[in-house]
C-alpha cells in the first residue's frame, strides 16, 4: 500500500494517456485500467476490480466513471476528483477543439479511412478488455455460456437497452448460483 501523495500523481500518469486513446469509448481502455490498478499498483484485488466494473456498468451515466471509482477506491474523494479530471479532461478538450474541424472534412476519402481505421482499433480494444476480464477470473463453462449468449443477443438485437440485458443476465446468473447450479 502506498500513501496518497504517490497515488495521486500515479492516477494522473495512468489516466491522461488512456483518455487520449480511448477510441470507441471508455471500455476500450478497460484492460489497461485493470492491469494498472490490480497488478502494477496493487490498489485492489482482481475481484474488487470486477465489482467496481460491474457497478460502473449498472449505474446510470457513462461506464467510463470506472475511472472515478478507481480513484475513489485508491485515494478517497481526492482520488475520485483527480482520476475524473485526468480521464475526462484531455479527451473533452480534444473534442471541444477538434470536433467541428473534424466534421468539416466529412465525406473525404481520408476522413472515412481514419474513421474505419479507428473503428477497427476500438473494436480490438473493447475485445481486449473483455478478454482481460475473463482471463482474470476462474470462469466456468456456464458463466462463459452466459457471456456468449449476451454477446450474441447484443449482436443480433442491437436495439435492446443495455440495462435490460444487464438485469436479465444478472438475474439468470443469480438464479443459477442461488439454485446451487454454480459454485459460489
Amino acid at each position: 500500500m502506498t500513501d496518497s501523495s504517490s497515488i495521486l500523481p500515479a492516477l494522473v500518469v495512468i489516466f491522461v494517456p488512456l483518455s487520449l486513446v480511448s477510441v470507441g469509448g471508455g471500455p476500450s481502455v478497460l484492460a489497461e485500467m485493470q492491469h494498472q490498478a490490480v497488478v502494477v499498483h496493487g490498489w485492489m484485488t482482481e475481484r474488487e476490480f470486477a465489482d467496481l466494473f460491474a457497478i460502473s456498468r449498472a449505474a446510470p451515466g457513462p461506464g467510463a466513471l470506472l475511472a472515478t471509482l478507481i480513484g475513489w477506491h485508491a485515494a478517497g474523494w481526492t482520488g475520485a476528483l483527480v482520476a475524473s479530471l485526468a480521464f475526462f479532461l484531455p479527451s473533452s478538450l480534444l473534442v471541444y477543439g477538434g470536433a467541428h474541424v473534424w466534421n468539416r472534412w466529412r465525406g473525404t476519402d481520408w476522413h472515412s479511412a481514419v474513421e474505419t481505421g479507428f473503428t477497427l482499433i476500438g473494436a480490438g480494444l473493447v475485445l481486449s478488455g473483455a478478454w482481460a476480464m475473463l482471463a482474470s477470473e476462474s470462469v466456468g463453462l456456464p458463466a462463459l455460456g452466459l457471456v456468449l449468449a449476451v454477446a450474441a443477443w447484443r449482436l443480433l438485437l442491437p436495439n435492446t437497452q443495455p440495462v435490460i440485458l444487464l438485469a436479465a443476465g444478472a438475474g439468470v446468473f443469480v438464479a443459477w448460483r442461488m439454485g446451487g447450479l454454480l459454485p459460489p
Binding site: L30, L127, R177
Partner: protein, 142 residues
C-alpha cells in the same frame, strides 16, 4: 474521437448552443450527478460485499457486462466488414481488418502491452490499410 461517447456528444451540443460555457455546463452536468451515484453505490458495496446474494449479483452483472463488450466489439467489426462487402472490397481487406483486431487483442488483452503505445503504433497501420482499400478496385492492395 477518444473519450466516453455520451460525454463527447454533450460537449458538442453544449458547444454548438452556448460555446465554451455551454460545453462546460454540459460535460459537468453529464458527469457530476452520475459520479456521485456511482460512488454511493460503491460505498454501499463495501458495506455489503460479504453477503452471498450481493456476491452473486455483482458476479452476474460483471459477466453480463463483459458479454455486452464482446457484442459491442463484434458489432463494430461487423459494421466495417458489411460496408466493405457492399462496396465490393476484396478478401485481402477482410483479412487485413481481422488481423488488426486480432493483433490488438493479443497485444493489449493477452500480453498486456501498454494500450497507448500499442494504439500509437497500430493506428497508422490500420488507417493506411483502410485508405488503400478505397483506391481503384485493382490497385496495389497487397
Amino acid at each position: 474521437m477518444p473519450g466516453a461517447n455520451v460525454t463527447n456528444l454533450a460537449i458538442m451540443v453544449g458547444q454548438r448552443l452556448r460555446g465554451l460555457p455551454g460545453a462546460l455546463a454540459a460535460v459537468l452536468g453529464m458527469l457530476m450527478g452520475p459520479s456521485l451515484v456511482v460512488i454511493a453505490a460503491a460505498a454501499l458495496y463495501r458495506e455489503f460485499a460479504g453477503t452471498l446474494m450481493v456476491r452473486a449479483v455483482l458476479d452476474g452483472t460483471a459477466l453480463t457486462a463483459v458479454g455486452l463488450l464482446v457484442g459491442m466489439g463484434g458489432q463494430s467489426l461487423a459494421r466495417v466488414l458489411r460496408t466493405s462487402a457492399r462496396s465490393g472490397r476484396n478478401a485481402a481487406w477482410v483479412g487485413c481488418a481481422l488481423t488488426v483486431v486480432v493483433s490488438i487483442v493479443v497485444l493489449v488483452g493477452v500480453l498486456r502491452f501498454p494500450t497507448a503505445a500499442t494504439v500509437l503504433c497500430l493506428a497508422p497501420v490500420s488507417v493506411a490499410l483502410a485508405f488503400y482499400r478505397r483506391g481503384p478496385a485493382d490497385g496495389g492492395g497487397g
